[in-house]
Symmetry: C2
Subunit: 225 residues, 2 copies
């Protein structure tokens, strides 16, 4: 029986990845891992639970590391609840290289915890949903990051773990196309940074999601509810 | 003003390191970071607070990531509260390479969080108390680990962080000698894996502490209380 840990935020990339790992890669024993890291809302955690149930994972854990938010509140509008998430249009072009919605060292934190979870359950592979469009803003979604974190983890004498990011070379529209072909229900995913009943439609994340569906030539089912 | 984040467990190595960073390196603006990661007791966190106060750090944060314990409970007697901490004498020689008190991927998890804390506060250096005696049992206390985690963190385009472990080539007795010269009050440190009013004197950690004081030619003030 093949096993894997999958980081599952409940957004488009990780939800598609979960279905891809299960159906395209045929991995039957999936440990899905979500986090409350002090982000602005728990709406994406509800989406994560829905996707885990849709795939039929072996186990889905949500880890509370909400103290991480206060530890890094000075570093990000995502975890500093006193600040406002800016509209994409208001972010200067130069700042988009490392947008204010970046959370300091988030992927290394989450992948370290995922690797620990994998090791404790004798699982060798951890999947996360980095894709090429994030690479421009987030240093921790790049191929270089993937190579170096695996060089680090390969030192583990007890059980080497490999981090895998099958979408690292794909753009978000390609991810949406893969997910639609796999029958992912995108009405049960959440992308908006702001929470609420409906996506705000203006934050950088909403803008990116809209562009991905447009490029994939599809309408976003979440907007049709 | 020079600044640093220091990982502070409240044991001998990290308590000595804290004094070393403050007094020997002369770093005036110290952010000390401790963790409740689901370990067996909070006695070492009390010791950490006492050491932070003794040095006069700028800030001391204790981060609750206790869910990490349940995530890795299958992997370690330190976080699996249903198991018993073995006496050193009962651990087969072969298993001491990676002792049962090892917590899966702990240092990478803690250092990732420390790096995030540093980044959010514009601090460039993170210190942790790895020493050469741990190297035999823990892959995440080695020089190789240090080199590779720094190669990973150097990719951060916003703010590269360097992890520093000044004791990585020293044995525990050397650390004790350094600390005694700096006036560290070892009565306010805690090493025993088991908690309680007095150290158990039998667990692997107590055995190592006793040996370090013996080799340094000193008595352990914690045992004289």
């Amino acid at each position: 029986m093949t096993s894997a840990v999958v980081l599952l935020s409940g957004g488009i990339d990780s939800s598609t990845l979960l279905h891809y790992v299960s159906r395209t890669l045929g991995i039957s024993n999936i440990y899905a891992l979500s986090f409350n890291y002090g982000q602005r809302h728990s709406r994406e955690l509800q989406a994560a639970a829905a996707q885990a149930a849709a795939v039929g994972v072996h186990e889905h854990r949500s880890l509370d590391i909400s103290g991480f938010g206060s530890l890094t509140a000075k570093g990000s509008v995502l975890t500093d609840l006193s600040s406002e998430v800016p509209d994409l249009a208001d972010i200067p072009e130069a700042d988009r290289q490392q947008p204010p919605t970046y959370v300091p060292n988030r992927n290394m934190v989450l992948l370290s915890l995922a690797a620990a979870y994998a090791e404790a359950h004798a699982v060798h592979d951890v999947y996360y949903g980095a894709q090429a469009q994030d690479e421009y803003g987030y240093w921790d979604c790049t191929t270089d990051f993937l190579v170096r974190i695996n060089e680090l983890l390969s030192l583990n004498r007890k059980q080497p773990i490999t981090i895998r990011a099958p979408f690292v070379d794909k753009r978000k529209a390609d991810v949406v196309r893969i997910g639609l072909a796999l029958g992912v229900n995108y009405a049960e995913t959440w992308t908006c940074y702001c929470g609420g009943d409906q996506p705000c439609g203006r934050c950088p994340s909403c803008a990116e999601r809209a562009q991905a569906f447009a490029h994939a030539g599809q309408s976003d089912p979440l907007l049709c509810l």
